[in-house]
Symmetry: C3
Subunit: 180 residues, 3 copies
């Protein structure tokens, strides 16, 4: 595990399934840069189960020196403002961001293009690690909303991967390099 | 990305999830052979959503020099007739083919064996690229039909992979070589 | 395909989707050790479909020299009793074990820790191959039970992977090494 592209302000996409260890892997990668750590949490609590999960994750980061920003929607703007050479930004996660955009009835494709553009324009200004759920490897979902969601997530992953220096797939806590 | 087995008339299986970029990857591989391109579309439109998707894909291929054959069921026969050294055949996709067989109440295992046999008998006669969805990495589906479908798809992938020169798993548009 | 960690009494985790060929791969690996083969079946038949599947699998193993132990719950105890240098133990599969624990209203996290401890304490005493389903790569399931199940399975895979000498992901019958 080296810092590769991250050391020169690059972009790393970390994909994985539920409870794959992708977030812990991303946090380790961020810590390895030795820079100040900014955690961009995209999660919004829709129910008690999620509220508890969010609180648990926050508590775990609290002592580890993370500065947390809660941003469910405006990721492109956050990148433009926050990305800098003295810090590493970790966004966890893109699939929740897509969910938030859909719930808020936003144009997901436009938002995705906006994020890709913001990431491209700030290339090299500081390392960014994006975490996202791979959700397209099960049976086709029955409902159209879920199908639209996984289509949007899949397309976003392709777009991000095409401009990332590094793409890693995490399973059982173990990284598999797809790019970089 | 080389043409490896494809250059000598071999067989390549491209697996991936929904919106993984597997079809675009397969189309690039086909184009790299420099041969005439035959696109075997297995899709049938059951509703408006699919009709639009099919039309969109066709429009995208129209200008790129593909000769399209629509064949929802008789893939083995299509292989026997179409495979030849002057062209590359791309079949997109096997999972829709399995769906079509099940909808038409055909014997899927017999059809799968027939396709594997047709591919074996025509080995080396011209490159063939088969695209298929990996659908077995989610929670066990509630309904028996979906369970039967993913069992059939998984078994077919194993059979095809065992005779393929190359097997590639595509995620976020990036290929990962499983064989070849 | 070498015996690597297995040859020195090590632990191998084999992950894969439905009908991925993970069990056949694990059985091949076990056979390659040349040791006596103990098959720990965690499956319990809840319906006719499962009863038939279990019977089919048993029939296939019958002639291949396996000694089968049916153990739906007490895997840690089985490890402590059965692991030894003269035999290879194959457990198929951990996801069914998690299901059984949940159905029996047991504390899954405590059981998982117990298994990890039993495996650690018996390290080097004989090769163990654990098969499990990767279930976290589809859409978030609608029901809370299924979400809890895939969380438990994912956490267990991370724990086991961290102490395993070898972790393999199987797709279309083909192994991809994640560790080892």
């Amino acid at each position: 595990m080296t810092t590769r592209g991250l050391s020169s302000g690059g972009l790393c996409l970390v994909l994985g399934g539920a409870r794959s260890g992708k977030s812990a892997y991303a946090e380790r990668r961020a810590a390895e840069t030795g820079l100040d750590k900014v955690y961009v949490a995209t999660s919004e609590a829709y129910d008690e189960e999620m509220r508890e999960r969010i609180a648990r994750h926050k508590a775990m980061r609290a002592e580890a020196g993370w500065h947390t920003i809660e941003e469910p929607l405006a990721l492109a703007e956050t990148m433009a403002v926050e990305r800098g050479g003295d810090r590493v930004i970790l966004v966890d996660c893109l699939t929740l961001w897509v969910t938030n955009l859909m719930m808020a009835d936003r144009d997901v494709e436009a938002a995705a293009s906006g994020l890709v553009e913001a990431l491209s324009e700030t290339t090299g200004q500081g390392p960014v690690i994006l975490v996202s759920n791979e959700v397209g490897l099960g049976i086709v979902p029955d409902n159209a909303m879920a199908r639209a969601f996984r289509d949007q997530a899949g397309r976003l992953h392709q777009q991000i991967a095409s401009i990332a220096e590094e793409v890693v797939f995490v399973a059982a806590g173990l990284p598999l390099t797809l790019k970089g």
